[in-house]
């Protein structure tokens, strides 16, 4: 094959891929909707297996907007230099972060909210539940308010799953994101401030998750 022939072959291949991608319909998964699930009893399981305390400062500048941010975090597509800069900042608060019991905060908020409604009965053990709500804590910590601001606010990034009593995942929601209402410069974050703001965002998120199920 001549060089020209090879170039033509590559171009034709690229065009076929391009046409395939541009005409590829959005993947319509046959997902169960939350409203379709008939909960009899629900058990809540919180997983911290992939929990990662992080500070997102320099990495915020890599994306066009914060819209891309959570996806970038999930995919680990950030540059090493910016990630190292952010890690250095996170290190100064890591000891304080280790003392924050996000699981208990989320669980308490969810249990209290479910208890205030008679919509879904809670099971005391997984074996007694018709369904299990699995809450996976992913990234959490401090995130720049937006690209233009230097102020940070607390955030929490979770994955929610519903498992039926056959142990099959029947519903999943990735990137359940919550952000705190307050914001401050990174330098102003003490152990107390980080703790109180993370507690507030965890409590708010726990309530919000439960309300999504109650008003599904």
């Amino acid at each position: 094959m001549t060089l020209f022939g090879f170039a033509r072959y590559r171009m034709a291949l690229a065009m076929i891929i391009c046409m395939g991608l541009s005409n590829y319909p959005a993947i319509a998964k046959q997902e169960t909707q939350l409203a379709e699930i008939e909960f009899e009893t629900l058990f809540i399981e919180i997983s911290e297996e992939d929990s990662n305390f992080t500070v997102v400062d320099a990495r915020m500048d890599e994306t066009a907007t914060a819209a891309v941010f959570f996806g970038v975090l999930g995919a680990g597509l950030t540059s090493a230099g910016n990630a190292a800069h952010d890690d250095k900042k996170a290190d100064t608060l890591r000891e304080a972060a280790a003392k924050i019991d996000l699981s208990s905060l989320l669980l308490d908020a969810m249990n209290q909210t479910f208890a205030s409604s008679e919509d879904i009965a809670m099971a005391s053990g997984q074996d007694m539940a018709s369904h299990t709500l699995v809450v996976e804590i992913r990234n959490w910590g401090l995130l720049r308010k937006n690209k233009e601001s230097q102020e940070m606010r607390s955030f929490l990034n979770l994955t929610l799953k519903i498992r039926d009593n056959k142990n099959e995942i029947i519903w999943e929601k990735k990137r359940e994101n919550a952000v705190g209402d307050k914001s401050s410069l990174f330098e102003d974050y003490t152990e107390e401030k980080l703790t109180s703001e993370m507690e507030a965002v965890a409590e708010k998120t726990g309530r919000y998750i439960a309300y999504q199920f109650i008003y599904r």
Binding site: R8, M11, A12, M15, C18, M19, L21, S22, N23, Y24, P25, A26, I27, T63, A64, T65, A66, A67, V68, F70, G71, V72, A75, L77, N146, K147, E148, K174, R175, N177, A178, V179, D181, R207, Y208, Y211, Q212, Y215, R216
Partner: protein, 214 residues
């Protein structure tokens, strides 16, 4: 050679769309908006003020990008985003049994729109689309000018698909809008504030009746 020329023209034809602006039809569907926590507040009447647009970029809601991530054209909203957000809030309030009153109502819902953005990142065989909307809602007592409640809401939606054009982008942004609406709909703080408005209105009415009766 002839086939090569045809391929060149076909490639140009296919990529041309990347250089034209796209306009998305955005809005919250009232039929898919359910009653939420704020329906449990006593029925309140409030003035829904125009949304204060504080977005950094007011000219567009996103960029079309080529395979290298370079901006090639704008993605626009058919209806300006502040109006889209205001209309969505009206749907949420009315679905939950609250009423929209005139500008002289004692309480006004003031909204600041900080972000309304669509973007995507192209991977090797898939594209991840993202939408993000941030709005700060404040309930203001217009008789004193005090905010009795304020909360920041972040609507977010992302999807990874094999690809997608205008229809997909519209769906992503409408899902983002629905996420924002759901968060407003399920906010305990907003519910309490609406309850407060309704009970203050009842007191105001009782006082007015008392004054006119005496």
């Amino acid at each position: 050679m002839k086939r090569f020329v045809i391929l060149i023209f076909a490639a140009l034809g296919l990529s041309a769309c990347a250089f034209g602006d796209a306009e998305l039809a955005l809005g919250l569907n009232p039929e898919t908006t359910n009653k939420g926590l704020i329906s449990e507040a006593s029925s309140a009447t409030l003035y829904l003020a125009d949304v204060d647009d504080q977005r950094t970029d007011k000219e567009r809601i996103g960029y079309k990008r080529n395979g290298y991530g370079m901006k090639t054209a704008d993605i626009l909203a058919e209806t300006p985003p502040p109006e889209v957000v205001k209309e969505s809030l009206a749907v949420v309030l009315e679905t939950n049994g609250h009423s929209l009153g005139a500008a002289d109502e004692r309480y006004a819902l003031q909204t600041t729109l900080n972000n309304f953005w669509f973007d995507y990142k192209t991977g090797f065989v898939s594209v991840e689309f993202y939408g993000s909307i941030q709005a700060v809602l404040s309930l203001v007592d217009q008789s004193t000018g005090d905010a009795v409640y304020s909360e920041t809401f972040d609507g977010y939606h992302s999807e990874k698909t094999g690809g997608g054009l205008k229809g997909t982008w519209e769906r992503i942004m409408n899902e983002t809008l629905a996420d924002l609406a759901k968060k407003v709909n399920l906010s305990p703080g907003f519910k309490d504030a609406l309850d407060g408005i309704a009970s203050n209105a009842a007191v105001d009415d009782a006082v007015a009746a008392d004054v006119s009766g005496s």
